[in-house]
């Protein structure tokens, strides 16, 4: 009896298992709550560090292949044990704390960075009714907790009493604070059109439910893919602005100024070694997962992907492939793009970084909000092309305004 309800809609297997488990523990409700809490936190704390390990391997292999090298292939098969080797090495490395440093702040910085990195994950909808904390104010909670991560970076920079890390810390503050504005403004468009801050509603807004529940399998697949926000003009620009600002929020290239290794040695991480450095490293990667997870939820349709209904079940909402498969696939696609960008682009200078945020991204995000508003009222066949044209015009216009001081393209004479 249990088996066929589980098999009835395969993508809800884990959720149904939880319900069966809860039914068994009917005796005392406290245990059911405990099981609920456990099931929503333990996977987060287990899966995401595993993703962190996989990504370090992916990054080193990807960067190596971009640079025509082979990348780690000695530790284990194809270098797959390299993350474990790095982890053990980090554990064994001596944890040097400079004598003049402010001990408490130096110790607290990595801890304070991990707290927002992990708590922020609780807001992301991994699959249909599989969301750790279905908060009605999901997106605002995400940004509130995300903004805490600025503090530990600066604390690390300041507390190590080293000139380079002080410079790194100041750059980190300036960069994170000023890139939060375009980040939030680009989400305003999605929230405005969905009409709610709840992440689950945002994902459901990007699905055409009557097609999904219809009989025609082609329409089912289209229903889950066609209505993603990224395929609308305002959605695509919003996604670009969101992605670029998220690169700045997590200090990834081309915005990795706080730990610019060619200028200020390792920025705020100069005086960190051993496991504290590994914690910083993990904090950066987990917040990269979190913010690309939000990008997937807001613009790439969360857990909905080209999915077919299993022929043996008559429940219209059943799907074959569980939602979280699509969620993690899209998230890793964004991570791969970040790695690709890291392999190509050089770093921005501090004042260009500021000018880019305040003079280019923010105005573009504001214009994007107007276009999203107009898109909402205009019929689609007008809204789509008009939106595209207006956005492209603003994109080029702002670009030209910001690059006036550079002068024309250089032509070189030969003596």
């Amino acid at each position: 009896m249990i088996l066929n309800t589980l098999l009835d809609n395969p993508d809800q297997i884990l959720v149904n298992l939880f319900h069966q488990g809860a039914a068994l523990l009917q005796a005392c409700p406290a245990l059911v709550i405990a099981l609920g809490i456990l099931l929503s936190t333990v996977p987060l704390v287990a899966i995401f560090p595993a993703c962190f390990a996989i990504t370090t391997w992916l990054e080193r292999k990807g960067l190596a292949r971009i640079q025509n090298r082979i990348g780690p292939n000695r530790a284990g098969w194809f270098g797959l044990l390299q993350p474990m080797a790095d982890g053990i090495k980090m554990l064994l490395k001596e944890d040097i704390v400079p004598q003049t440093s402010d001990r408490l702040a130096h110790f607290l910085a990595p801890v304070l960075l991990l707290i927002p990195a992990f708590t922020v994950l609780s807001v992301l909808p991994f699959s249909r009714n599989m969301i750790p904390a279905a908060a009605d104010t999901g997106v605002i909670l995400f940004f509130a907790l995300g903004s805490i991560s600025t503090l530990p970076v600066f604390m690390a920079g300041w507390s190590s009493h080293n000139k380079y890390s002080l410079l790194g810390g100041m750059r980190a503050i300036a960069q994170m604070v000023s890139y939060e504005i375009p980040l939030v403004l680009s989400t305003v468009t999605v929230v405005m059109l969905t009409g709610s801050l709840n992440t689950v509603k945002i994902v459901e807004f990007q699905q055409v439910t009557h097609w999904i529940e219809g009989s025609n399998p082609a329409l089912q697949i289209l229903g889950q893919v066609l209505k993603w926000n990224v395929f609308t003009p305002w959605g695509f620009t919003g996604f670009l602005i969101f992605f670029i600002s998220s690169l700045a929020e997590i200090n990834r290239c081309p915005f990795d100024l706080p730990e610019a290794d060619s200028e200020i040695v390792a920025g705020h991480l100069t005086e960190y070694s051993g496991f504290k450095y590994a914690l910083f490293f993990m904090g950066e990667y987990v917040s990269a997962f979190a913010i690309s997870g939000l990008a997937v939820t807001l613009f790439l349709g969360g857990w909905s992907g080209p999915n077919i209904r299993p022929w043996w079940s008559e429940d219209p909402r059943a799907l074959l492939i569980p939602g979280f498969v699509w969620f993690f696939l899209k998230m890793f696609a964004l991570i791969l793009i970040m790695i690709w960008i890291r392999g190509t682009l050089p770093r921005l200078r501090v004042d260009h970084l500021m000018a880019f945020a305040w003079k280019f991204l923010m105005p573009l995000a504001l214009i994007n909000i107007f276009i999203a508003g107009a898109y909402y009222y205009l019929p689609h066949w007008i809204g789509w092309p008009a939106g595209l044209i207006v956005i492209y015009a603003c994109y080029e216009g702002l670009g030209r305004i910001n690059r006036r001081h550079l002068g024309p393209k250089r032509i070189y004479r030969y003596a």
């Binding site: 960067l63 971009i66 640079q67 025509n68 090298r69 000139k163 380079y164 002080l166 410079l167 290239c253 081309p254 990795d256 610019a260 290794d261 060619s262 200028e263 200020i264 040695v265 890291r342 392999g343 190509t344 682009l345 050089p346 770093r347 921005l348 200078r349 501090v350 004042d351 260009h352 690059r403 001081h405 550079l406 002068g407 250089r410 070189y412 004479r413 030969y414 003596a415």
Partner: protein
Amino acid sequence: MNPASTLPESPVLPPRDYQVYSGDDLATNVLEVAMGPQHPSTHGVFRMDVSLDGETVVKLKPVFGYLHRNHEKIAENVTYLSSMPYTDRLDYFCSMTNNWAYAMTVEKLTGIAVPERAEYIRVIMAELTRLQNHASLVGFFVNDLGASGTPLLYAMREREHILDLFEWASGARMMCNYFRFGGCRNDLPPGWLQQCRKVVDAFPAFMDEFEKLLTENEIIISRTQKVGILPRPLAINAGITGPMLRASGVDYDIRKVDNYGIYNRFNFRVPLGEVGDCYDRFMLRLLEMHESVSILKQALDSIPEGPVIGDVKARNFRPKVGEAYGRIEAPKGELGFFLVSDGSPKPYRYRVRPPSLINLTVLEDMCLGHKIADAVIILGSVDIVLGEVDR
């Protein structure tokens, strides 16, 4: 043709007395940072004592000498031939051009003739050195900008092909010690010229890819244009030579001025910059690589057969009393050797004119007023190699 007059005047910089604004309320104090010998982007053991007002460079004092190996004093106690291997260690990126400059100076001192084939080999080796030096320089320069090593490794991949050629001909990849007074140590092994032709033909494909990756990149353009401007009068007065001088618009290439070796037989052009900022220096080196490829093609087509070295005694080689100064267009600038001989097998005085050191003297003028991130890439665009700076 008077070089200075024809070009538009590049912007003259305000005077160097940049004071820190210590007004009444928001005076920020100056941060003294020693970007010391142990720093990821100083191309070797070189220290810059930078004092920063916030991020802007207020004062910059280059400190070098960490790699001083007393090369010139040793050369005075060792025979002429024995100091040839030491010239490889001057600018360890282009050992072939160092050997050529030293061999040419001794030939000028003693009047030894160099056979035809040896002259062609020297031009081929020098241009191959220029290719791999400029390629790896552009790689290091973009690496200082922050691209995590990708252009550098593309350049290193091409440099490997050229270093394999050097190893095949001279026995060592970087410390070639291949030229002798009056020619080369041994003839090119059979099959070397065909392999060299293959490498030279494959080079333009790499350069198109390299330029497509770098030249229109908006981030590189906004970070290098109008940064580290070297005005033409300052460049001429400070004795700057090589791509840095030509980037400021002065038409001075020793291959054209002196016509040493057999450079007058090849037609090649000398690219010139306009503003003289980091972007011009970066583009100059890419354009010079194109020119070197065309020279190599012409040289490989017309290299004759014949002996590779005149009849020079290896042991107790005693040049007549006198002095000579020979200079060539090394990839970094004008590399010169000044030899005074008193008739004994050991030179009386042995002096090297290092282009990197002299190009380094204007570092502070270029860096004032810029951010610390710019100071790093201005140093990168000057292209110094500490072996040559400290000798």
